[in-house]
Amino acid sequence: MASDLIYLDYAATTPLHPDVAECMRQVQSEAYFNPASNHTAGRLSLAIVNNAAAELAKLLNVSLTTLLWTSGATESNNMAILGAAKQREHRGKHLITMRTEHKAVVDVFRFLEKQGFEVTWLTPDSDGQLSSDRLEAALRDDTQLVSIMHINNEIGTVQDVAGIGSVCRKHDVTFHVDGAQAAGKIAVDLATLPVDLYSLTAHKFYGPKGVGSLYIADGISIEPLMFGGSQQRRMRPGTLAVDLIAGLGEAASVARRTMADDLSHLSALKQQLTRGLQDIDGLYINGPSEGGYPGILNVGVKDVEGESLLHALEPLCVATGSACNSQSLEPSYVLRAIGRSDLEAQSAIRFSLGRLTTPDDIETAISLYCQAVRKLRSMTPGAAL
């Protein structure tokens, strides 16, 4: 990367942790075999896969056999939601999710709507939070699936997964959680959380891109998304990418070791950033002012156009709205759902911080942001003279 760039887009993707990169290199050169192959080399790769599964199982506090390898959270979400909805279709065709979910959840439910399912789209409060009471009120006799994300990718809201899950258990409703922004970043103990399906992706926590996992609690069964071959108990066919899986396992292991330090590092940086920006006139925080995930700070500012702000911020690499839809200029639907106007949503900038972010990076970010706002405001016509 051009050395003058400052990367504050860790929620979009992270670099490989050096141990992960090293682990993958080793597997690529010494154990690149097909874990399904019935020979010594294949078994070497299979052992590596099993070892990685054990690492991920430890991170989530689950048993090894509850985890499937996928190509990422998008696939995990599709598999979980489509698979559960179809499997329990007889139980009812009512599904519940939130308006602030990631597209990889929203668009799956939109598809199911076209297939004859009925979806209730809950709106969270202005912090992005959904109370379990709100959820309970939305449940019906024919509700069979609820999908609520763990950490919001745009504004950092951490949902009350335990509370929402309990409500689902009480009503015998399958509960899926999109944990793409949470796994490996905050403690996720699936032995105690009442969650049936949990999606994650390695590249959000310093693991490789192109690999993720879906946790399927014991006793839960879903229809597969793909067919072919007997890998992964026929639930997800395809040659296992042993190096990617090893990388995910290593990233899980690193995350377990460093999670506490990561969180305090991020909290300090977020505080520094929040303080540095707070004196800007017309600045507001999108999302929770307290209690949110410390790696994400989303701010908007009055009377500044979003695209120009983003351009003026270069060499800061930050996001407007979700990384996944930042190529389009539509105002973020997440910000709209928590009550922002189109205009407000347009000036939103998501700073997402990570392990390699330094206080110097934050200082630079603050001063670039202040400058950019000043400059753009100085250009703004008041009104017709």
């Binding site: 156009e305 695209e307 003026a312 100085s378 250009m379 003279l385």
Partner: protein, 126 residues
């Protein structure tokens, strides 16, 4: 390899706008559409647009377009505004076609500026 969505001209006009401001006592035109807002003011000396200033609220293309307009027409005869063509600005700034509507806001502003200057000149001639 790093392809910016803004060409060199946009980046220069955006980073170093030389014409931000207002000409106090000058002729002014303002337009507001598509969420974009542009104001241009001209200081007229003997039919010449001796000074052109702009303010704009919009994406980098809109800001750069306003700045480029000022760079191109400052010092020229007010008549020359007839030659102003959105097409050439779009081309110089490689504006993506989906943003055409935004650049038309500049066209509207320039047209209204021309009218205002003509009005002023007519008044003066009277």
């Amino acid at each position: 390899m790093t392809e910016s969505p803004y060409n060199l001209a946009v980046r220069d006009c955006f980073a170093n706008p030389l014409h931000v401001g207002d000409v106090v006592g000058g002729v002014t035109a303002y337009f507001d559409d598509q969420g974009m807002r542009i104001r241009i003011s001209a200081g007229i000396v003997d039919r010449l647009m001796a000074e052109l200033r702009f303010r704009a609220w919009g994406c980098p293309h809109v800001i750069a377009a306003a700045e480029l307009f000022c760079r191109q027409f400052e010092g020229r005869d007010a008549q020359d505004l007839e030659q102003f063509a959105v097409g050439s600005i779009m081309h110089d700034l490689a504006v993506p076609t989906e943003k055409t509507g935004r650049i038309l806001v500049l066209e509207d502003t320039v047209r209204s500026l021309r009218v205002a200057i003509n009005d002023r000149l007519i008044i003066k001639q009277d």
